[in-house]
Subunit: 355 residues, 2 copies
Amino acid sequence: MLLECGVALPDVHLAYETWGTPAPDRSNAVLILHALTGDSHVAAGPEQPTPGWWDGLIGPGRAVDTDRWWVVAPNVLGGCRGSTGPSSPAPDGRPWGSRWPKVTIRDQVAAEIALADALGVRSWAAVLGGSMGGMRALEWAVSAPSRVERLLLLATTAAASADQIAWASPQLHAIRSDPGWEGGDYYPGPGPVAGLGIARRIAHVTYRSEAELATRFGRNRQDSDRFAVESYLDHHAAKLVRRFDAGSYVTLTEGMNGHDVGRGRNGIADALRRITARTVVAGVDSDRLYPLAQQRELATHIAGAGELRVIRSPYGHDGFLIEVDQVGAIVADLLADQAARPMSNDRAGATRAAT
Amino acid sequence: MLLECGVALPDVHLAYETWGTPAPDRSNAVLILHALTGDSHVAAGPEQPTPGWWDGLIGPGRAVDTDRWWVVAPNVLGGCRGSTGPSSPAPDGRPWGSRWPKVTIRDQVAAEIALADALGVRSWAAVLGGSMGGMRALEWAVSAPSRVERLLLLATTAAASADQIAWASPQLHAIRSDPGWEGGDYYPGPGPVAGLGIARRIAHVTYRSEAELATRFGRNRQDSDRFAVESYLDHHAAKLVRRFDAGSYVTLTEGMNGHDVGRGRNGIADALRRITARTVVAGVDSDRLYPLAQQRELATHIAGAGELRVIRSPYGHDGFLIEVDQVGAIVADLLADQAARPMSNDRAGATRAAT
């Protein structure tokens, strides 16, 4: 595929997982898009019974009821969980490494559009995404409005903010300044283990809230050398390093930095006006990385989005993964037939009726 | 001196700078305590005319009027701007490096008490400190209450929180995992340049606010490779690396992590009850590293502290350095004679009259 940067990326593969049964016309297809270090394993399924990152949301009788919906979840382009990314072999058989091109959120969605074509999905009954997944869901609804009937934008933003780019800065430097990075050509070596761990520690703190850390850890000590909260971050760093590729972390982080749905579209407001999907925007009240103002901007400019849905949670940004009951209620509302769907207020009802 | 960890630290030096003229009985002595990467050069003076980190606050006719007050500002124990620290020679002539012992905020203040003794200051007319300097000011007022007549606690806390320790975690890892760290024994080499730069980037983002970064940088690009906010962080990283020692950064950060004024004193509330100084507590409304709740806790438990003074600023934690006019007004109030000092409300007035 031809990327925005002008590079032609040959031989693109997207890994994906499905749940439920597709209708012959694929009219029951729901697309779920994962966040930075997520993958296509959203929930346990017959082939992969291990819990997924949104377990409890998908299955018979659940918010995304697999007796009705056919759920598709791809691993993002540039990722490391089955889709083509920096650790994949280039045409010469060696890993892409430092040769991996710049991939934007729009490129990621273009690859997913090709996947939809291959799967015979003309139009998604719903596209659901949080955080980086929400950036892609948004891009889907703006670049292919006729192919998105319902849209959930969760804990995400119309454009990466200066603050988000600022938090990413030391993460990218930590990975690239680790000698194990070797300019990006460390495969099949262990890679920048320390650097990726540092990036994860920074990211993880941005994903939680001050109040939760205070309640959960306070000034408790793990041992004579470490506070409990330090040990907690060490644990999450080690866990990510075992399962995630640093090259993917870098390319996806830079993709998020570049995210601006209004780029080349006369700005954010005009871009959001292209959306025709029935849209719900939701955020987490304690999210300090994707603050509610970002979701409020989306809800304001997307016709018929109605009022912002606020998830009450102490967990910060990670609340969109943890508060499955509240997310489930929001998703169930969105997926319910329009007539049966409760309207949050008259304005929303009127606007929705007009779309 | 004997440190809390049990190590006897020989040959301790504290660098300090002074402004104004000491009264024969030193009754006009004011102690100013700097933050993590600060130093004794608080303001321009006759010997060092370059601007200091609180320039504008100190001088003839200023909030700390040097026609009246004799101002003393030491560099902290463990620092690298003239006081004994990890980069200083140990008795064997080699730098302390990895042999530098664990130094607590209480140790730092014990060294400053020895300095006061050497300077003939029985009692400080005022002790002023922000951030890490506020931790030391607080410790002064609790461990030597009779030697602190007035106290300003600015953008600081009674104890480092889980969140503050969490933000420090990737900073410490970034420095120590840099091969240039060499276990702490990198002197006189360049040391962990990349690691200290990463630490500074993380810290700097915590020192500012999301809104300020949005207003100032937004999604502007510096060049084809970098956003403006990335370039800004690169600049601050490079600047710190040129002027600050990574070993000092580590020992001072760990000292702050360990800060808990209530340790061994039956908790924070009991410790704060020891304070007899006329106290003002102030914080910055947009501070996300030392949120106002921390200063509210101090104001609540310190007798006669009155209401928390809130500095209105878009700059986050750094507001305590930047908002010199507002800080100056607070300092001037504190230094004014008790009778002449405006009371913020009846409760504060009544309580203060009782102390």
